[in-house]
Each structure stands twice: as C-alpha cells, then as structure tokens.
Symmetry: none
Subunit: 452 residues, 2 copies
Amino acid sequence: MSYFDVASTAPLHPVARQALLAALDEGWADPARLYRSGRQARMLLDAARETVAEVLGARADEITFTASGTQAVQLGMLGALKGHRRRGAHLLHSAVEHSSVLHTAELHEANGGSVGVVPVDRHGRVSPDGYEPRPDTALAVLQTANHEVGTLQPVAEVAELLRESGVPLLVDAAQSAGRLPVPPGWSLLAASAHKWGGPAGVGVLAVRKGVRYASPLPADERENGRVPGFVNVPAIVAAAASLRAVRAEAAAEAGRLHGLVERIRTRVPQLVPEVEVVGDPVRRLPHLVTFSCLYVDGEVLLTALDRSGFAVSSGSSCTSSTLTPSHVLAAMGVLTEGNVRVSLPLGVAEAEVDRFLDVLPGLVAEIRAPLGLDLAPPTPSGDSLVIDALGKLCPLPVIELAKHLADVSVGGTITVLADDPAARHDIPAWCGMRGQEYLGADGTAYLIKRTT
Amino acid sequence: MSYFDVASTAPLHPVARQALLAALDEGWADPARLYRSGRQARMLLDAARETVAEVLGARADEITFTASGTQAVQLGMLGALKGHRRRGAHLLHSAVEHSSVLHTAELHEANGGSVGVVPVDRHGRVSPDGYEPRPDTALAVLQTANHEVGTLQPVAEVAELLRESGVPLLVDAAQSAGRLPVPPGWSLLAASAHKWGGPAGVGVLAVRKGVRYASPLPADERENGRVPGFVNVPAIVAAAASLRAVRAEAAAEAGRLHGLVERIRTRVPQLVPEVEVVGDPVRRLPHLVTFSCLYVDGEVLLTALDRSGFAVSSGSSCTSSTLTPSHVLAAMGVLTEGNVRVSLPLGVAEAEVDRFLDVLPGLVAEIRAPLGLDLAPPTPSGDSLVIDALGKLCPLPVIELAKHLADVSVGGTITVLADDPAARHDIPAWCGMRGQEYLGADGTAYLIKRTT
C-alpha cells in the first residue's frame, strides 16, 4: 500500500513511537503532583514544551498543548476574540481556511459577531490587501498553506499589514508545521502533532506574550488556564520528539518531494484527458498536489485507487458526507468534481509515484468508459438544445453537457437544467476549461454557447 | 515506591499498553477515510465504542469519546443546558462535585444562568430530596462517588426523583467507572479513561437517546457532532481494552481492597493522635480513604511520605496552588488541614499498606515535634478485623462473624465480606439479636461494631 495521504494524518514516526513508550513508563503520573513520579512527569512535560517552542519559534511559556489541531484553532480564535472584544467583534479569514476555522466563524456569527471572508485567486492564494482591517476587526486568521491544494499563503505580508493596526493574526500552521519554517509575525499559532508524525491527541496553541487572550471555556488551572483536562504527558513527549526529528528530515527531503510533485503536476494532464491540476504551481507545499478529473465521481476513483494500492484523499463533493462541494475549490473557481489530493510522506520511493502515474490513466478511463463519451473533438450537429439534468447529482450534469456539446454547431447554445448546487460552480468551470462560453444561469437553467 | 494515588491517575494497565501498541500499527489512519487503513481504523473505533458502551450500560451510539474526563463534564453540562434552555437556565449540583463541574457552573452563571448547590452531610453524602427540581431546572449533576473522600452518592434515588419532572441528570462517574457498576437512571454520563488504567487523552461522554443536546462548540461532524477534532483511535482502543480488563479485576478485588481500606480507617486513629478519618464508613469506594491530621501542613506530610516511598495526594489547602481549602472537606464541615488521600491500586500488596501504617505515625510525630504540643495518646477506640466470607453460603458468614466477635475489643469493628444475598438480611438480624451495632453495608462489605 502506498500511503499518499499525509495531509490527513501521518503514520507515527519511529522516534515518536520510541518516545511514547519511554514516556508511558516515566511520564504517566499527574504532573501537578508533588511526589517523585509527578515531578518526573512535570520535567518531561517542560522539556517537551521547550522543544516544541524552539522548533516553532516561540517561547516555552507561549506554548500550550491542546487535544487536537481543531481544538487549538477553536480555542485560539474564540479566546483571542474574547480577549479583544473591546476592539470589536469583526473577524477576518480567508475563503479557503480549514473547516475548523469556518465553523468557529459560524459560531462567532451566531453569537452576534461579524465575519469578513477574504477571497482567493484561481490558485487559492489571498492577496495581502484583502486583510485590510476594519476599525472593529478583533482577529484575522490565515493558514500557512492550504490543506486541499497546497498553496502557500503570504502570511508574513499579512502579518506586516496587520501589525500597524494592532489586529492579532492567528496562523493555522497545521499543514506546514514541522515541514517548513513558521513564517514570522503570528500572534497566535495553531498546529497538530499527528500531521507531523506525532501521535493523535496533541495539538499546539501558541499565544505570543502580550496578546490578550480570554478563555472561552470553564476555568482550569492546567496549561496556563487555556486547555482544561488532564495533561497527556506521554503523547506530548512523543509529539515533541517527532517534531524535532521531522524538521531535520523535512529540510533534507523538501527538494526531492518538490520534484516528485512536479512530476505529477506535469504528467497527469499528459496522461489523462480532461484533467485540471489546481493550486499554485510555484508557491506550494513540497509534498502535496491536487487535480480534478472531469466526468468522474471522486469516490469511485478513490475506491479504484485503493484497490490498486494507493491511499489518497479528495475534497470532491462526491466524497463528502455533506454533499456540498469543497469550499476551497469553489472559492478558487476551479472544477470540484473527480478531485484527487496526493500528499506524499517523507521518504516516499520514487517508484511508488511512478506506479501511481502508470495506474491512474487506466483507472480514469475505466470509470469513464460506461459514459460513452467521445473525448475527441466533437462534430457540430444542431443550434440549440435543452438538457434536463434535474434531480441528477454532480458530476452527471457536466457529463450530460459534455456528451451533448457536439449535438449543437459552433455558435449554438445548450441549456442545462440542473438543481444540484454543485452545478452552479462546475458548469462555468467546465466551460472555462474547455474554452466554451458560459452565458450565465437563471435559477436552475444554465446557458452555454459552443465556441469551438 | 508504593503508588497510592490512583484517584489522580492510574498507571497504564498492561492490557491497555498492549492494545495501544497494536492500535498504533493498525488504527493510526483517519477513520473517516475510505481507503483500507481508514476503514480499519474505523472498525477498531467501532469495536472500542461497543466495548465501552457494554461496560457502562449504554448503547454504542450513545457513546462519544472526548479528550478527557474534564472535557466530558464540560461538554455534557454545557450541551445539556443548551439543549434544555427552553426549560430554563437553572442548574443543580452537589457541593462536593469535581472542580470541572464547579467551574462549568461558574461559567453558566457568568452567562446569566442560575445555580443551586445541594448540601451534603458530614460524610459528604447528598440527601436525594436536595435534588427536588425547580420548574426552570434544566440540568442536575451528581457524582457516583466523591473523588476526595470516596463517599458513594445515592445516584439511583436522585435519578428516580428527577425522572418524574423530566429533568436530565448528568452523572460524573470518573471515580467509579470500571470499578463499580454504573448506577441506573443517568441521562448523561461522564468518565475518564486514565482513572481506570487507560491512557491519558480519552474521556467518555454518554448521552442517552432522546436527551436533548446542543453542542456549545463550533460544528464538527466527528463523534456524533459532539467532540471536535481528529479522533484518537489508538488511545480509545487502549481505553476500551483496559476498561474491560479492569472491570473483571475490580469485581474480584473489591472485597480485599475494602478490607485494606477498613484497616487504614481503623488503625490510623489508633496510631496517630488527633486524626479525623472522613467520608462515609460504609457507603464508600472500596479503595479510597481520606484522613486529616491536626497541626500538620499537608504538603510537608506528603513530602515526608514521598521520601519514605509513598505517593499519596491531598485535598488540603496546603497543597493546592490556589491556597483555598478543599471545597469538598469544607462542604462536609470536617477538618481540612493535614489532609491525606490514599487510593489503592488494584493488586496492591497487603504488606505495602502495613508499611504505610508503620511509617505514618513517626512522620506525623516528627512534623509535629517542633510545635511543642502535648498531645494525648490516641484513644484506643477498638481494633478491627476483616472476615472474608466471599463465596460462602448462608449461614456460614454469620457463623464466621459470631466466631470472631471476641477477636476485637469492645468499640472495635468487624467487616464481613459476603456475597451470598442472604447475608444482607442475616447479618443485621444477627446484630439485632446479639445486641451488636450494625453500621451498614456497601455491596458485599458489612460493617459491624462490637458494643458488648
């Protein structure tokens, strides 16, 4: 099995495993207790905090350990918003943040706050001036790198812009911590250990000295009053050990992984018809690439890849339990169907990547075969056509459109009737890719002009 | 080192360690993913949920895994209060709940809710009628057993009282889960794995089907929408394995531990002047006992015990970083100084307990020496004896009791361990006939005081 989904979770690093076993023996007691085993747990915890602080560029007393990256984001956002409530209740975040950010923003809004969403370009990147704060902006949130498409964000520039007005910036470093240096300028920092080869159950919330923070949770004296509950010393020790180990390995591996991803970015569109590789081609994570295959159900493709020995992920609407298209791909204005995210582990063999490129085209072709699509340039045969795709879910409306494009002549129009919300996004995106003219939509009717 | 502080945290159970190692290999992937390793993690998670549900007397779909017992309490309280807000905003809890309950109540109050505190008697036990709800009572909270003094609470009776008015009851089972069966009648249940020999990082929040619950946190689809963040499958698997193992061991050990604690309860006042043993003598946890030594700084005594090889805890003001006296002892109206809590691990050697009883008097005397107090020698209130009649059928337990009555002096106590249901009737009846004082029973332990 080639595991190409480290952006979801990385396997436990051998160093983390070793540290975990040692700390289960030496650091299991309550670090708040005065007896020997308690003091020993406290020392291990302190040392782990020092390590994490050093790698992330923080002071030890700025670091608190949470139960997950999601908890770090939630507490960081709610605590900073509460701490800065005298400033106002306006929150800024990019359109492509992790769902933990979006959901926390929804709660903030439900509680009477206001939220501004900073748009991204077609590569999923914000423009720093989108973060121009309002007088009542109490917090801004930006990821270091996008979790679905790997695009790096201009964190340092945004931090610089916010610094003048004193608006704190929470940086979500979940996808890059341990792999890339943390950009300067954060006020709060969130990360997740299981993404860097640490165990599950450990997140990091760093709060810069002087940044106002008011816990949204019931009082608890542990972890600087920020994270309630018994401190998970063994897992924290393991998380710190793997962070230190991975940082060194990642620096050595970055170039090689960057090249392997570049190979996927270049070869996939040459091997598979009707594919769009998304995300910034240059300012990106070294190990992550995402592409979308037209006319393909992402879940079907993932299952086929799994049977062929590849574990990959998808932000496609078709694999989400909520049936809404990926908000990241939607915000970028790119295709959301047949989406595959490949994220390579440290030390991945080149041969595994090549085998992926060998296997993929056949699998996509197999999935498309029953659709009877003629992906060669079509022959014109009519002036206008209405395609009824009502009640059909993504990607069927686009498949129908592609199948029948050749039924109208160049200059002719096709109206697609589709009530799946994903169509609102996918039909224009398909037109852009295929060089057809998208004329607009009226309710569930989408009008397309054939131009080639 | 004799570790007598399992009420803080128990060492990792060997079964938990084994399960953790296996699950780090087999269950590390994201259980929400569709590929093989993800499905495997999901299966392990489902199996663990079934196990925990079965042991705690719940349905699997009622169980959610949190990051700690504290988080389970916080989410359970806030979620139930939010879910029942149309009923009102009045919260009832006992005066001796864990600080996680008290702090959550403070937050509820700060947010405009009202809180009623149910008093306890001198043994730390609530009277069920203290839980008579108001029309606007939205939630009641009660522990199964007190964490500082081990007193068992009348949970079933309180649940019965609340059932008529439809007020949900959150039961904090942190100190008893895995050691004693969960009493019936809970609407929400909170527990903590590291207290039963599971790893840190796993709590349990169970919510009965039909009980209204509205998450106080940002939305997240994991753990039934109740607990955000990446699910810690390996730790959950280990927690479930140890819960199953410990339940069986605890049932076998209960009588023996009950006897050892009885020995401490009886001997300490005979060996150390000016000592008060607190907590219910009969309706108590089998493994936990607390006593307070007048004129002694608890922290100094703990440090002295640590140097002598005993890890114990204290609810005393002197060891708390907040410098406020234990709210539990204060609510009971008992001495709060020089407080020592002994909580015995499963499998503890009798010799360790005897060594503790050997060492303690000298340490206390040393600490008191500089005070120049003239303390009366302890009044021999009688010695004590534990008769193990487990597995023996009626009338054997009563015969054993009659045979050994003369082995304690007048004022001394005898604990008869008997699991024949007939003992519940015969032992009190025998006491009545013979003019001895029957102090009560806790499960299979019957306490008798020799009066003639």
